[in-house]
């Protein structure tokens, strides 16, 4: 996944990683793409790990807004599998495409066949490698499918430039193109604000 994202990002780009976790992706992009990166994170243990990796990190909650970032001030804004955990994904999408010239967003696909089977035949909320939480303790409060996300983009002025279909371990799987909304575990999108 890191490599795939790296391919979307130009050398020396200014990159903002929303919910950057332990800073692995930014550290990777710094080494491989010489990016000038910045991460947002609220978990202090993870912030500590970012500092260890010499990754710039700001203690800021995405749900509290991103109004402190200026329009088009980053070449790329990355949101890795966390838009579904936000209180207002639609606001976040608008903000991300306002701040970034491009946005790279990945989502776990709730319409994946395994999820569907668990719901239909198991009668329980799906649990998978991409979505490993019980319904009551999941941070994922706004799960969606590829179709749902793409509709959100249309409705909120975001143009999809590229889409990659991945298994939960972040490997691109070309066979998923046969039925993306059914087969994909994680979808990776490159979007930008529509002019």
């Amino acid at each position: 996944m890191n490599k795939l994202i790296g391919n979307f990002i130009e050398t020396d780009a200014r990159v903002l990683d929303l919910g950057c976790g332990d800073g692995s992706l930014l550290a990777f992009l710094k080494n491989n793409n010489q990016v000038n990166g910045l991460g947002l994170e609220i978990n202090h243990q993870k912030i500590q790990e970012c500092l260890q990796k010499d990754v710039n990190v700001i203690d800021q909650d995405i749900d509290s807004g991103l109004s402190n970032f200026q329009d088009q001030s980053f070449d790329a804004v990355i949101m890795s599998q966390s838009i579904q955990a936000l209180r207002k994904p639609e606001v976040a999408l608008e903000e991300i495409t306002r701040i970034g010239k491009e946005a790279i967003i990945s989502i776990p696909n709730f319409a994946n066949w395994r999820c569907r089977l668990q719901l239909i035949f198991g009668g329980t909320m799906p649990i998978s490698s991409a979505l490993p939480h019980d319904w009551y303790s999941t941070p994922n409060i706004h799960l969606c499918s590829l179709k749902d996300f793409e509709r959100l983009c249309v409705d909120h002025g975001a143009e999809i430039l590229d889409r990659r279909l991945l298994s939960f371990d972040g490997q691109e799987q070309l066979f998923m193109k046969a039925a993306p909304n059914l087969l994909t575990e994680i979808a990776l999108y490159r979007v930008k604000a529509k002019n």
Binding site: L38, Q48, L51, I58, D59, Q60, N68, S73
Partner: protein, 366 residues
Amino acid sequence: MPNDSLGRVETKSFIHKDSFALKSGRTLQGFEMVYQTYGELNEAKDNAILICHALSGNHHVAGLNAEEKKGWWDDMVGPNKAFDTNKHFIVGCNNLGGCHGTTGPNSNNPETNSAYGSSFPMVTVGDWVKSQDLLRNHLGLPYWYAVVGGSLGGMQALQWSIDYPDLVKKIIVIAAAAKLSAQNIAFNEIARQAILADPNYNSEDKLPKTGLGLARMLGHITYLSDDAMREKFGRDMKKGEVNFSYDVEFEVESYLRYQGESFSNRFDAHTYLLMTKVLDYFDPAEAHGGDLAKTLKSVTAKALLIAFSSDWRFSPERSRELANAFIEAKKDVSFLEIDSPQGHDAFLIPSETYDNAVKTFLEKNE
């Protein structure tokens, strides 16, 4: 002696003989600056850290001085502590205008051959940084690996990164702001009025201790959070009941009076006045039309900003403003808001998150 203590430390002195021009337009005919150092300078001379003191601090940052008194940041500076003297060569100095050995209002004015007193020239954070750079040179340091400080100390660290971008690699700005708010200045003004209104102010043989004590009492309230005060004192009474008088009745009154009195015995009123003005004047962005991001354009140091959740003197929001300016200027910056009930004073108190952030940030990873 605990093995994380520096033990006895000695105060050294640096004398600058040439004249020293101040931002105010006035000039000091040389000055003396006292300082302490902890840890060893390595061969490459790339492990020196300058710790800048806040309003009432001084050069005695850590260890035990001649009076067996611990330094003001002893909890965080020493072997294996957040600022690890096993790894770093740490310098603390007393700033110009101070009252603990560096040239200040109590020093002799060579022009009048008597103490400066209230005629000591106003100084600024920029003046301090310039004088600290002379100390750096005196110590034979090619640059500071880091300049750090809390509150007014953090403002000096910030000023260092702006004024001497080639001479500092990292800064840690703790519980500070890029400039004071009207509320901050208002508190300082009341503190000054308390001193200036003391009948002993500028008296030949008496000190304005009442005024200085009042100023400190006021300041102290702003260093603590509402919760911390409630926790510490609540409405506890000295004698268990009210006695309908203006004597000390509540514990908090007793505490504040004690703080004010003890402070007025160890600090100089002129220095206090001066320090509050240094705070009020601090506004590095002023030279760039108020544009802080533009001001930071020349900065090359990596910055770590730390704020504490219950600090209302310099709230986390003020640190975020500073962080945003670094971000806008595309500079290396990290920001951490630490949960703490202790208010502004939290910057003096070690905690796991705080110590780890400082330690990790100071590790060399180039």
